[in-house]
Symmetry: C2
Subunit: 436 residues, 2 copies
Amino acid sequence: MPPGALLTDLYELNMARSYLRRGMRQEATFSLFVRTLPPSRGFLVSAGLEPCLEFLESFGFTEEELDYLERELGFPRDVVDAFGALRFQGDVWAVPEGRIVHANEPILEITAPIAVAQLVEPYLLNQITFQTTIASKAARCAIAAEGRDLVDFSLRRTQGLEAAMTVARVTSIVGFSATSNVEAARRFHLDVSGTMAHSYVESFPTETDAFRTFARDFPKRTTFLVDTYDTLNGVRTAAQVIRELGLQGELGIRLDSGDLLELSRGARAILDEAGLPRVRIFASGGLDELELHRLVRAGAPIDAFGVGADAPTLDSAYKLVEYDGRPMMKLSSQKATAPGRKQVFRGPDGDTIGLREESLPGHEPLLVPVMTGGERTGPHRTLDTARALFRADLERLPEPLKAIESPQRLEPGFSDVLDALTETARADALRRAAVP
Amino acid sequence: MPPGALLTDLYELNMARSYLRRGMRQEATFSLFVRTLPPSRGFLVSAGLEPCLEFLESFGFTEEELDYLERELGFPRDVVDAFGALRFQGDVWAVPEGRIVHANEPILEITAPIAVAQLVEPYLLNQITFQTTIASKAARCAIAAEGRDLVDFSLRRTQGLEAAMTVARVTSIVGFSATSNVEAARRFHLDVSGTMAHSYVESFPTETDAFRTFARDFPKRTTFLVDTYDTLNGVRTAAQVIRELGLQGELGIRLDSGDLLELSRGARAILDEAGLPRVRIFASGGLDELELHRLVRAGAPIDAFGVGADAPTLDSAYKLVEYDGRPMMKLSSQKATAPGRKQVFRGPDGDTIGLREESLPGHEPLLVPVMTGGERTGPHRTLDTARALFRADLERLPEPLKAIESPQRLEPGFSDVLDALTETARADALRRAAVP
């Protein structure tokens, strides 16, 4: 889908209409962060920045979209003309893709005239939330797999096809070795992996015929799906065909149903007895990180997993933190937002959220400028860069946060400067709330 | 995204390669159904058929895609040529969008030479699963809302932007009255709804200034977001501005945080005391059908809800049920698939799954032919048709299946003919499973 400027919520357009009509072009900074982690998450992996930057670079309304605003939504002509002139020429600071972040830490901060900064909210929130959700979930799978291969099997389970492309891209950042999605492999230069389906086995008179035919067509790399009829019988049939045809190359069997722990042990024993210790065992079928963890910890002799489970979404927010040079703060119960343009400082004892202009000795700032005046700063970041960032961050992540069951969380502290600013902004907000 | 034929899993291409190479062009029928419902679902609403038909109509490989198969995946030239000639010229029977269906009932059955029927699996599974998931979830929201208005607020929470467009379309089938997504409203001719964000209120010196300005810019239709600072104070400010400016038209206040039951009661009392009984109360903020149900049953004076929560995916399957005229059946533990081209017969005492050629007196068949020889039969179905089908089915749905908490399910029975065929196919499968 070509991202259009109407891919936004009506209230953004209403607000922008009001701002533009009144000539309110003050600069605003919005901060995008995740409020709280789901119960089963110990950390997040930043992802989704690249598509956001592409969207901002090409932001603008087409004639057709402007017509819709005027004719269907009744926007006045002068305001429609003002919409037509809008471009994104603001600044973006962001945590690069692949870096590990925590609740309340800004992943992206954007500074631009308030109308534009407001209009792009749904796009940015959608992309960062979805991609960070998937990266974080997939990173937990990678931890649980303890070095075994992981393959993205999500194509049939995501919310549409665009989502599946995204999942293939993002899982490759956090250590998945391949995807089953051929178009994603082509577009993102990923390794692609695939075997056979039950229907293939069924389309031959016997399982043996199916295995023989497939092995002849794919002699260098064959994985036999063994659970169409009786799983361990299927393993025996695969072993027989491998020996009968003298197959070498990359060989494997795939389990896609039943008790994977018990069946993988049975399969391993059959293969080993048949003198085939190098034939790998691949498992799939509704796996998530908890099931991977259980299987790996129980010592299941599985060499690779296909993962395609869904993931809950994250409680992310896009909040005004500065307007016209003034730090902003919302007071709504349980949803208060700390004011100001922020920075996340990573130090030896954890993360501290402070203001952008602060400098904390011995700490590394996570947000970096990625767009200035609407232009990207520096080259497009590659997937390889994101992968390296993730590996480095994961290595330094404390073990309790990596726990698959009941992970701990890191609660980033506030710097003294941010604490003080928060108090000031709260008092200011209370004043503005007063009934006149 | 333009759907390409490479938007498939590698194993489909591998199997198709093997089939094409061996000249296996026998017709296969695949059946797409949901195996089991999630714990919180009592029924499903069929959706996703229209994009599937569009995909099938235009199915084919581009030169670029064929090059990728040859150069990157090492497919032999003769097979690549055979891929290049593939079109979808098969038949599709399906349950029209908007109809209520149950676990194990085929939503779509496709008959085509096995290579093509296999290649399109991921696309069909992705679309039907996702869209049926959303339609079913949204239908539960509509039931829970008991006549109150529902607005799709999902744009920022879905897996990408394409998914948000789909959610807006599908929720409109099951009774949502509007969407906040402007592009979706434009494309699908939906009503669009939107108010203001907290950032708008914050960008003015006082809440009163913000409300006054917005009301002047939108005098015919204004909804005040009242929870930026103190919610009930915000309601008083809104009431004051409405009276001060003598506003008429469609007026409302929106609650987006806190205890919605308590706050809606407080807000209603303030508005009524101010002589504003016609000002509506709109609620949003992480609402799902359980929360809607709780609020409605507790008598919360809320007139409309904004809903944007995510939904778990469904355990759907795409299984070979007939090949070369022979009924097929897979035996894998707990995942056995009933054989044959099927029909769902809806009668006064529930649903019966039978074979397509059967006829059960007093029962209505749910699957209808939608594509024959690769051509659509009949006109494109409109959203209005889907809406009418949904309303009619919902009216006839037994109450216990509509329960928001602990809904019952309908377990469709098998016809005698299907029972008999299942026994025959099982025996046949056992024979084929035997090690030679």
